[in-house]
């Protein structure tokens, strides 16, 4: 288990990570979310003892990273793609890594096969695409068969096929009972894979909760109605004590409204409807609101902030989101 305690990193007078304390739960995918520049990568580098904290500490299974003997057997990390000498072959890159931690050499071929790089194993990394570099980085993370895996923005710059591959890989790793800690700046991506969420903004902790809780707290549903006769409609709704708020583009919205009931009510009153549709606020909107104003936010406030009409931009690209089926989450839990 990774534990952070009051972890702080300052560069000059700029604070990149500010008193961060949380634990990465075992055996699940934990999404580490925050806008670009929130301090995710710095935090991950401090976990690996690459960057030295200004104050606070971080432990892996109770130990400081530097105290781990052969650390690749405890924790595997993908920090950035292409952290490979361009003139060295994929096989040789994994070979020196394996040797340094006394990992059996057969693991090199195993992980190459696992990430689908067997055919280019003897090719120099110089010619690798971003996706291939990412796969090689993941192969190095998996080399020591570690219990904990850490990926920094693994889907960045990948094509849809690569994104799907990484998504499935993370789920599979968690299903095997491993701890997966993955950073992203996209809520939509996390919603598909993560079971737990840690959200930071400007180096501060904004939220640390399960995905289910996040969804429960942030997914407001509403029924959107569009009609050429709004007054009649509002009166009809009022008879049933239903209140509608003005929505975008002349529409009306009933928060937590019952689609069937409203439809039948309109029909009974003979009101023409041009639209009667269920609306769901996207998690992306909730995330954007949570992080938009990071400085003034605390974990509690952020969660209670709720999702009202989100920023236009957020609505445009997050609107297609659908909450993951409860089944999938249960299956993941069951597998652990």
């Amino acid at each position: 288990m990774i534990e952070l305690h009051e972890l702080t990193k300052r560069y000059g007078d700029k604070t990149a990570v500010d008193g961060l304390s949380f634990q990465v739960p075992q055996g699940v995918v934990t999404g580490f979310l925050g806008p670009n520049g929130a301090g995710k990568s710095t935090t991950m580098r401090m976990i690996l003892d690459l960057d030295r904290p200004t104050s606070g500490r971080v432990t892996i299974d109770g130990k400081h990273y530097g105290q781990l003997s052969e650390p690749l057997k405890y924790i595997g990390a993908l920090l950035e793609a292409q952290a490979v000498h361009p003139g060295r072959t994929a096989y040789n890159h994994l070979l020196w890594l394996a040797q340094s931690n006394r990992i059996p050499i057969r693991r090199v071929d195993e992980v190459l096969a696992l990430v689908g790089l067997t055919e280019v194993a003897r090719k120099r990394a110089r010619g690798f695409s971003l996706g291939m570099g990412q796969r090689l980085g993941i192969a190095s993370a998996l080399l020591g068969d570690p219990e904990i895996l850490m990926f920094d923005e693994p889907v960045n710059g990948l094509d849809p096929e690569g994104i799907l591959w990484i998504r499935n890989l993370m789920k599979r790793l968690a299903a095997e009972g491993r701890t997966v800690f993955v950073s992203s700046h996209l809520m939509s991506e996390m919603a598909l894979t993560a079971e737990h969420l840690v959200v930071i903004g400007r180096g501060k902790l904004l939220a640390d909760l399960s995905m289910a809780e996040f969804i429960a707290q942030n997914s407001r549903s509403a029924v959107r109605i569009r009609t050429p006769h709004p007054e009649q409609l509002l009166d009809a709704l009022a008879t049933q004590s239903i209140t509608a708020e003005a929505g975008p583009e002349g529409s009306y919205e009933v928060v937590d409204g019952d689609l069937v009931k409203i439809g039948e009510l309109a029909a009974a009153s003979g009101i023409t409807l041009h639209e009667l549709s269920p609306q769901r606020a996207s998690l992306e909107e909730a995330f954007m609101q949570m992080t938009a104003d990071s400085v003034e936010y605390h974990a509690g406030d952020a969660l209670n902030g709720g999702v009202t009409d989100a920023a236009g931009a957020a609505g445009a690209w997050g609107a297609g989101w659908q909450p993951p089926a409860g089944k999938r989450q249960k299956k993941q839990k069951g597998a652990n």
Partner: protein, 255 residues
């Protein structure tokens, strides 16, 4: 703490699996041997012209090592690349994640670099010497002559120390391009020029390359401020200081 032999093996794999290792070491050999052979041949054919103003006896050993000043540049580049490619490729983070004991990592790396450099340097020194002597004909010397065997080994130790010095400086600068930009002009231009300038040369005579070259001298020169033993220790001190400095920076610096 991980296993030290395992880390050594890993560093050896790193060094043998990139092309720059092969070509820089090959270049050191070819340039030192080739240039030495050429100058030896020219000296033999123009012996009277070349030696008419000399006050000291003819030094056949030094003549065969005339190419070392250029060959050392390739060795310096090897030292820089062996450490610097970790930084230029971002691989240093992967290396440190695998071996978080930074001092141990640099020690293993330096041992591997030093051992390989010494091996190639000894080979280069002896081939240079024998080929040079063969081409000098009647003017040649032998390993059995006073100080000659020491001078040949001195040449090998000199190259090895410069290589490790460069490796240490690269770790201190943690930047391959910067290290090349500093070290190559320094050893190729600045140090030779400064050691010829009056007054400044009193300082320049304590630079690692000037001090190290004293290990190659066969006939003691009264004009030199110190002998080969002092030269060995001065050059060695520079090398050790560079490596310790590199370790200090590596330990403290965020990767």
């Amino acid at each position: 703490m991980g296993s030290f032999p395992a880390i050594l093996q890993s560093e050896w794999t790193k060094i043998r699996t990139v092309r720059s290792t092969v070509w820089t070491l090959l270049l050191t050999f070819v340039v030192t041997v080739g240039l030495g052979a050429l100058i030896s041949l020219l000296t033999k054919n123009n012996f009277a012209d070349f030696t008419k103003n000399e006050t000291t006896p003819f030094d056949a050993t030094t003549t065969s090592f005339a190419g070392i000043g250029l060959g050392e540049i390739a060795m310096i580049v090897f030292g820089v690349l062996a450490v610097g490619n970790e930084y230029s490729s971002g691989m240093i983070r992967v290396s440190l994640a695998a071996v978080p004991q930074r001092g141990t990592l640099l020690t293993a790396k330096s041992l591997v670099i030093g051992a390989l450099a010494l091996l190639i340097s000894v080979l280069t020194a002896f081939v240079t010497f024998f080929l040079g002597q063969a081409l000098l004909g009647d003017h040649h010397t032998t390993l059995g002559a006073p100080n000659v065997l020491r001078a040949v080994f001195g040449a090998a130790v000199y190259l090895t120390m410069l290589c490790l010095f460069s490796a240490g400086v690269t770790a201190m600068l943690h930047n391959q391009t910067l290290a090349l930009g500093v070290l190559v002009p320094f050893f190729f231009l600045l140090s030779p020029i400064l050691s010829a300038v009056p007054k400044v040369k009193n300082v320049a005579h304590y630079f690692p390359d000037y001090a190290g070259k004293q290990m190659l001298t066969v006939f003691p020169t009264p004009s030199e401020p110190y002998g080969w033993v002092a030269g060995f220790f001065i050059c060695g001190a520079w090398t050790l200081a560079a490596l310790l400095g590199g370790a200090a920076v590596l330990k403290r610096h965020d990767a």
